[in-house]
Each structure stands twice: as C-alpha cells, then as structure tokens.
C-alpha cells in the first residue's frame, strides 16, 4: 500500500487537515510553550511554521516569505532564534519551541511590546511578532548593544511599513529603561 493510498483511506470528506501522504504513523509530539502538543496525521514535509499555524492554532508566527529571508516567522528553538519556515516540524521533535504566544504568556517581552507600541513601531503589524522575538533575543544576549549592532541583529527581520525608525527607537527605550531599573 502506498502512502498516498494510506492517506486516502484515512481521510473523511470533511477532514480539511488531510495530509498528502508520507505522514508519520501515529503522529508525533512537539514541546511548544511549555506544553506537549500532539500532531496527528501530518505530512512529513510540513514546516514548523505550517504546523504551528495550521495544526496547533498558533498563528502568531507569520508567513511572509517562507524562505528564511524576512524573519516574520521567528521562534525560539532550544533558545535560539530560527525562521520556523525553514525548519521541518519533525526536526523540532524533542526540542523546546517558544513562540510569540509563549513569550507573551510569560510576559518575557512585555517591555519590548510596550515600547513598540509607545514608540510607534507598529503599523500593519505583520512583521511585529517576529521583531518582538528578535528584540527579546538580542537584548538578553547583548543588553548594551550599540546602534550598529542592533541594526545588524535585526537585519534579518523585514518591515515594509515603518522604515525601522520607530522600531529602533523602541529598542533604545527598552535598553534605557532596563539600565535605569538595574541601577
């Protein structure tokens, strides 16, 4: 029996998540935002981005280019920022995945989010979750990063609305506030 026939035999007419064959028998588990989620009958070729968005209902990571150029789908994979579009979901088995939803829930980037709002760094907002993840990651690694280092660190996140001015301003605001609090 080919995989395609397997897929056909399993799919009911109302099953919109029906995979095009080559799925993992019995599904697999992903550790996302501190909980274990089961992915059923998913095609092996699905990206982590697709699985997060379309199978697990976590649509905060965005789908702007799906080839790792724009950073809209940034998530943390074992604490490292990756483009979820360029990671196969099955390659993330056993890793800890944290998305914008997870960062938001544990208020890990609340000051970054607040600064983006007050500085005016949000317009259409499509790139925003990716920027929140990237800025969160940058400032915990390099809290005192200078402007050029900030620009380089964020150069993998494209924004078409803001010209980055208000986003960079938000980063400065967070740096200032954190160093003020630390004193």
């Amino acid at each position: 029996m080919t995989s395609r026939e397997t897929a056909r035999s399993r799919s009911g007419p109302e099953d919109a998540s029906h995979a095009p064959g080559y799925e993992v028998a019995g599904g697999y588990e992903l550790h996302v935002n501190g909980t274990t989620r089961t992915v059923e009958e998913a095609w092996l070729g699905e990206s982590l981005l697709y699985v997060l968005r379309e199978r697990l209902g976590l649509s905060g990571a965005k789908n702007a280019c799906e080839q790792g150029e724009c950073g809209s789908c940034s998530v943390l994979l074992d604490d490292v920022v990756v483009c979820a579009c360029c990671v196969l979901a099955v390659d993330a088995i056993g890793s800890h995945i944290e998305t914008i939803e997870g960062l938001t829930r544990r208020e890990a980037a609340a000051d970054v989010q607040a600064a983006l709002l007050s500085a005016g760094g949000v317009q259409c907002g499509f790139c925003t979750p990716g920027f929140v993840v990237a800025v969160y990651d940058l400032l915990r690694r390099r809290p005192d990063a200078g402007e050029l280092e900030v620009r380089e660190a964020l150069s993998g996140n494209l924004c078409r609305c803001t010209g980055y001015g208000r986003i960079l301003e938000a980063v400065r605001m967070v740096q200032e506030e954190r160093s003020r609090v630390a004193l």
Binding site: A16, P20, C65, I100, T104, C124, R160, G163, R166
Partner: protein, 772 residues
C-alpha cells in the same frame, strides 16, 4: 522630530480637551493584539472543513492556449475542484478602470504568471500537486516587451495597445529659454512587497451567495467586480475586511478574490488561499517602469520658461489603473515649480510585461526622477546653486499647475525645502567609522580611502484623493449610546480599509474630539452594513473617511442639542456645545452625555464628497485635482565608486502635512515612505528578461533592511489646508516620491556620473564609461 510651526491652538482647559483627540499621539486600537501575535491577518483565518486553494499560472510570457485539461488534477485524492475560465458564470473579465483582464486566461496568456486555473484541495501540498497535474497545451508567441515597440505592434488585446495618450499644452508652446537642458531618464519596476501575502477565506452562504474575508484596500469595488464575474447580485457577495499586512497600492486590484469565491461556490465548502511570496510577486500589479525625455528652458536669471516632456509608462498586459497613473505623471511632470509654458506628451502602453497599476506615489514618483535630475542639470548650466534654483522657481499658493489649475490650497514648497536643508549634516566619513557603516555594509568590502561623500536634494508634488471628475466619496455612521454603567460609548461603522496606515487611530481621535467621548469602538469593516469608503489609497482616507466621521459626529451633536433644547424648553439656537456637554446660553445650565443619552442612542450617517474636480480637456487643461502635497528631501550618501557600492547615510525632509493629527503616526508614514524611496533608488527592481520575472522572492528582490536604512530627520510643515478636515492633508505618499531622486542626486554628486536610471545598480557606477 521637529515641527516648523508653533502649535495652532492655545492649550485648552483640561476638561475641554478629550484625551487622545486630534493632535495627540493616540495609541493604535489594534496595537496590543498586534504586538502579542493575536491580531488576525487574512492568512490567519481558519474554519472547520476548510479547503486550500492554489492558482495555476502561465510559465509563458505570451502564448496561445490550445487546451486545458483539469482531469489529471481531479484524479488526485484530496483535490476537490478545479476551476478555469469555463467555470466563470458571469463577466469573464475584471478591472479597476475597465474590465479588460480575464479572471482566468482561456485563449491567450499575455504575461508571465497569468492565472489559468485554480484548485481546491484538502491540504496546501495537495493543491500544489493538483496545480502541477493540470495539463495545459501552450503555443508560445513572440512577446512584445518594449513599450515603444508595442505602440507600433499588432494589438496584444482586443482593446489595443495604447491605454491612454495624454497631451498637456500650456501657455506659449513656441517659447524658448536662454539656457536649455535635456535628458532621458528611466525608472525600473518596483514592487509593493507588503509583508502579508495575498490571502483570504471564502465561505459559501445558504442564499447561494458567498462571504469573503479578505485583505484589500477597497471592499466595495472588490465586491462589485467579484459579483459581476460570479453573476450574482452585489448583495449576495459580502466582503469582510480581514487583517491587512500592508498594501501600498498592491491590493487595489482584485487578485485571488474571484478565484476563491468560485472555488467556495463550486465545492460548497470554505476555501482559504494564501499566496506564497513568489506567487505574490505574480499576483499583484507593480509600479510602472518609465522611460522619459525632458527638455527644460530657462532664462539666464534662472526663471523656468518651458518644460517639454515625453513620458512612456509600461502598463504591462492589462489596464488596471494605468489611465490615472499616466494622468498624474503628466500633470506633475514639471514638479513643484512655476512653469508658464509646457508641452507634455504622455503615453501608457500595453505590453506583455507584468501588469502595472497603483503603488504609493502613483505616477509622481517616476517623473520626479526626471524633473529633479533636470533641475540639477539646469542649475549646473546656469552656474546656480541647485537649492537656490528650486527656491527661485517654487510654486506658491494661487499659482497655476501646467493644467491651468490655480492652486487654492496651501503649497509650502519653499518651507519644505528650507526645512529639509535646515537639519544638520552627518559627520564626514572617517577612518574611525566601523567598517560595517561603510558602503557594502556587513560585507565589509569598502576601504575608507575609497569612500566619496555626496549630497543631493529633490522636491515633489502630488495630488490628494481622486482626480479628473471622479465622484470621490466616503461613508461613515456613528452611533452614540449609554454603555455599561451609563458611560457613553461611540461606535463607528465604515468600510475603510485599515492597511497599517493608522486610520483606526485617527477615526477614534476624531470622534473623541467631536463628541468628547472617551470610549470609541470601531465596527468591523465590511460591505453589508454601510456604503463605500472609497479606497485606502491616494493619501485620501483621513480627508475622506475622516471627513465622513467628523460630519456624522456634527450631525449627532445637532441631535443632542435638540434633545437638550427640548428638555429646557428653549430654542436650538440658545444651546451651545462645549466640551462634550450641551450648555444653555441663557442660564449656563449644562447637560452631559449621560443625561442626553438617557432617552436612547443617537445615530448619524454621512456620505462625504470632496469638492468636484473636472476631467482634463483635449489640451490637458482643467481643475482636475482636489489638492496637492509637497515634500522635499535631502540625501547624504557614501559611495565606493570602484565597487559601485552605495551607503545612504542620512535623509532629511520637510513635508507639507497640513496638520499632523497624530504626530507619531505621521513620523511612521514619513520614515516608512523614505525606506521605499531609498529602496527604489538603490536596490528594488523586478528584473525582467523578455517579460519573464527573474527575481520573485525576497532573496532576489531586495527590500531595505535595518542596515540599509539611513538616519532620518523630519520636519512637519504645518499650514492647515482650507478644505480639509482639521486642515490635514494626506501624508502617506510624499515621503516615497522625492526621497529616491534625492539619493540619485547625492550619488551623482559623489561620483560625477550622469546616472539616469533608477535603481542605480553597482555596475552602473563601477562599470560606468566602460563599453559593454
């Protein structure tokens, strides 16, 4: 951020000033969900039993379609439907200005990527497999990809190859100047490259109609085009605005809307479609590439005598909004200068290139590269400073455009130039600069000794709103009622597309300002409950939808005054409105919103039309435009001429905004627009090879990143526009127009090269003068 004029009003008493009203940096109502990743964009939609749609597109630039056989696709398990031209029950074509574009190509394909069929399947990969399985037999044809050639070639379409030929004849056409400069200029094809790809969800309805949740710029005109092709009455096609991930003109035309509705109606199931990035490059119109010739005449003293121009815009395979784009290009070809005599010969032409239409700046961008290069050339010929030449010829209020129209609104050209020039220049390039700050950036390729600094200026002019007699209007309804706990709550109903520009914030600020109510809700935008808002384009929504909301609020206030008058037994005339309360002029008695709303809600709807404009006559003359916006930009660049690498160091601007209703949002528009202007100047271009798109991805089509983006300093020039609500002009487009031409001028200054084409590519600098 500085502002050139002092705040207009004196500081009002605390209670008379609603918090977050006009002029405040009010927060976006959609901001919190956006930073939390909870805002639902059109690609985030999901429904039980939903199918995935995908489009089959032509691999050929020009071909005859001999046969289309969908049966191999239908044989794939999980493929639920294939639709082709044969399945379009209504009008087989659509289009913004004229319906000349097929929903699906059936006999011929006229551009690379033209849709042939669409597939609905259980999984996006299955849909992709279905698309691949459809068998199409093409007979490739020789494409016509040069606009000049297309003017003489056999028709590529039953409507012919000339979209519009517009001639502007103004003043004495035989006039000549002591000093004459001429040049030819070229602008490449720019893409809007909004981040959120085209996407939507179509849901078949019990009445045989369809509900479409989609990211778009103009719901009602989408609706009308979809209904015509579905053969359904308009009221059975219900559009709902889904979260829009940027637009910039690229969502003004229909893309996947009709395909999605056909698939949903054909399968009886909800269908979602999300373009991949490469498909997005094929799925929407682009900025028109331009070829332009200019000849400027001036007196020895530097007075412009005459401007002659020939402008050819390549409209691609279908009309889209080419007729309006070429009109702007022609009308604003001389730029923001007094030009007593002009002969402008402008053509928009059909070719086999990808269709072009609306993009931010809309016709003014292309000609600005020409008129500003000419002003610099003229300054050099006259031995004059380029800034002085511009100031000397700057348009003023009550001057005429070359269309003969007297500019009755504000035209602060000199103020914008002076404001752009007033910002401090950045420090000169230094050996101590980090290498990444040099041309080549993270490539660390430029040596300090090779870096040349250049400075350039450019100034631009563009219309606000729709021109040439178009009945431009927007509709809004406001309802004011007592909410939970008796606190007044206002609800705004409008079909205005929020595309990121921040109209939702402005709408709330207007209602707070007019009614003194803190709580302002925005109903979801759609076609079911309100008339058209017009498009979120042409920098028009603050003026148009903002005006409609303001006037609806005024009508509500009138009703509240009537209620107060009735309760006091006095005439309406003796009741005033002050700080969200009705005041009895005689007794000084006050009645607040809570008391006035005790009798029930108050509601008013307003359809706001701007002052009528007229079509241009046979000589291109007439009062075709509502109002104009001015911007001036100064750019500073560092160039490594040997490597051809450019680093844009700084862009400063003075922008005519009328009145900044939300300064933070205005700043965001200015910085974002400058990013797109800089992009067109040095990196952004859809590369075509005989009509074939070579770079449909963010790997190959380069959008400016944080490292490409210069420092920006902006000054708002605030001279309130007499006709506009709160005196506010549009702010979205001017930043993208002259910022790029200023960068080109700066690169010319640094290199001494002519550089007549945008974008400037490394080889245009490094290989200049070498025969190729």
């Amino acid at each position: 951020m500085s502002r050139s004029s002092a705040p207009v009003a004196t500081r009002p008493a605390a209670r008379t000033r609603p918090r977050a009203g006009i002029g405040a940096d009010a927060a976006r109502p959609d901001g919190v969900p956006k930073v939390r990743g909870e805002f639902a964009f059109s690609s985030d939609l999901w429904m039980d039993g939903m199918l995935w749609g995908r489009t089959l597109r032509s691999p050929h630039v020009s071909a005859r379609i001999v046969a289309v056989d969908p049966s191999p696709a239908l044989a794939i398990p999980g493929v639920r439907a294939v639709v082709t031209a044969a399945d379009v029950p209504g009008r087989p074509t659509y289009g913004l200005e004229e319906p000349d574009q097929p929903v699906f190509a059936s006999e011929v394909v006229r551009y690379h990527g033209e849709p042939i069929a669409a597939v609905a399947a259980d999984h996006p990969e299955t849909a992709r497999a279905g698309v691949r399985a459809i068998e199409v037999v093409y007979e490739p044809l020789e494409p016509v990809v040069d606009a000049e050639r297309a003017l003489r070639a056999p028709p590529l379409h039953p409507d012919g190859n000339l979209f519009r030929h517009l001639v502007i004849r103004h003043g004495d056409l035989d006039a000549t100047g002591d000093v004459v400069v001429e040049g030819t200029y070229e602008v490449g094809m720019q893409d809007q490259a909004f981040m959120g790809p085209e996407s939507g969800l179509a849901v078949p309805a019990d009445d045989g109609g369809v509900d479409l949740y989609v990211a778009t710029q103009w719901l009602h005109v989408d609706r009308d085009q979809i209904a015509a092709s579905l053969g359904l009455p308009a009221e059975r096609v219900r559009l709902h605005l889904a979260g829009v991930g940027g637009a910039f003109g690229g969502r003004e035309d229909v893309s996947l809307q009709i395909h999605l509705c056909l698939l949903a109606l054909g399968t009886g199931r909800p269908v979602k479609m999300v373009y991949s990035r490469d498909e997005s490059f094929f799925g929407h119109v682009h900025r028109h590439p331009a070829k332009m010739w200019f000849r400027h005449h001036a007196t020895r003293g530097g007075d412009l005598v005459k401007v002659e121009a020939r402008i050819v815009l390549d409209g691609g395979a279908y009309l889209s909004s080419s007729n309006a784009v070429i009109s702007n290009a022609a009308c604003f070809a001389p730029g923001p200068y007094k030009v007593p005599n002009a002969l402008i010969d402008a053509y928009a032409v059909r070719t086999n290139n990808p269709p072009c239409g609306a993009m931010r700046g809309f016709g003014s961008v292309q000609v600005c590269y020409g008129h500003e290069a000419q002003m610099d050339k003229l300054a050099a010929a006259l031995g004059m400073d380029p800034v002085e030449l511009r100031l000397h010829n700057a348009l003023e209020r009550f001057d005429r455009l070359v269309t003969g129209q007297v500019l009755t609104g504000t035209v602060p050209v000199r103020e914008c130039i002076r404001a752009a020039m007033a910002h401090p220049l950045p420090p000169a390039p230094s050996l101590l600069d980090p290498p990444m700050a040099r041309p080549g950036g993270a490539g660390l390729s430029a040596d300090h000794a090779d870096v040349r600094r250049g400075v350039g200026i450019a100034v631009s002019l563009k219309n606000v709103g729709y021109s040439e007699g178009f009945d431009d209007y927007a509709t809004a309804r406001v309802r004011l009622e007592a909410g939970v706990g008796g606190e007044p709550v206002a609800t705004v109903v409008a079909a205005t597309a929020e595309v990121g520009q921040g109209f939702v914030t402005i709408a709330q600020q207007i209602v707070r300002e007019e009614l003194g109510v803190a709580d302002v809700l925005l109903a979801p935008a759609g076609t079911t409950d309100i008339g058209s808002a017009g498009s979120s384009s042409a920098s028009r929504q603050t003026w148009m939808s903002g005006g409609a909301i303001q006037l609806a609020c005024v009508a509500i206030r009138r009703q509240l005054i009537a209620r107060a008058a009735a309760s006091w037994g006095c005439s309406h005339a003796s009741v005033e409105w002050d700080a969200g309360e009705a005041v009895h002029e005689g007794t000084g008695e006050r009645r607040g919103l809570a008391a006035l709303l005790a009798d029930g809600a108050v509601e008013a709807e307003h359809e706001h039309h701007h002052r009528p404009t007229v079509p241009l006559d046979a000589d291109g003359q007439g009062d075709a435009h509502l109002s104009v916006m001015v911007a001036a930009h100064r750019a500073v660049v560092d160039v490594d001429p040997g490597l051809g690498l450019v680093k844009v160091v700084q862009v400063t601007t003075g922008q005519d905004v009328g009145h900044a209703l939300n300064p933070t949002q205005v700043t965001g528009q200015i910085e974002g627009g400058i990013a797109q202007g800089v992009g067109l100047a040095v990196m952004e271009e859809i590369v075509l090879d005989e009509g074939r798109v070579k770079n449909p991805s963010f790997t190959d089509y380069l959008v400016p990143t944080t490292l490409d983006m210069p420092a920006v300093a902006a000054t708002f020039v605030e001279e309130p526009e007499p006709d506009a609500p709160y005196g506010a002009k549009g702010v979205g487009e001017p930043p993208v127009i002259s910022s790029g031409p200023a960068v080109l001028a700066a690169i010319r200054d640094a290199t001494g090269l002519a550089l007549t084409r945008a974008p400037v590519r490394p080889e245009d600098i490094a290989l200049a003068g070498q025969s190729t």
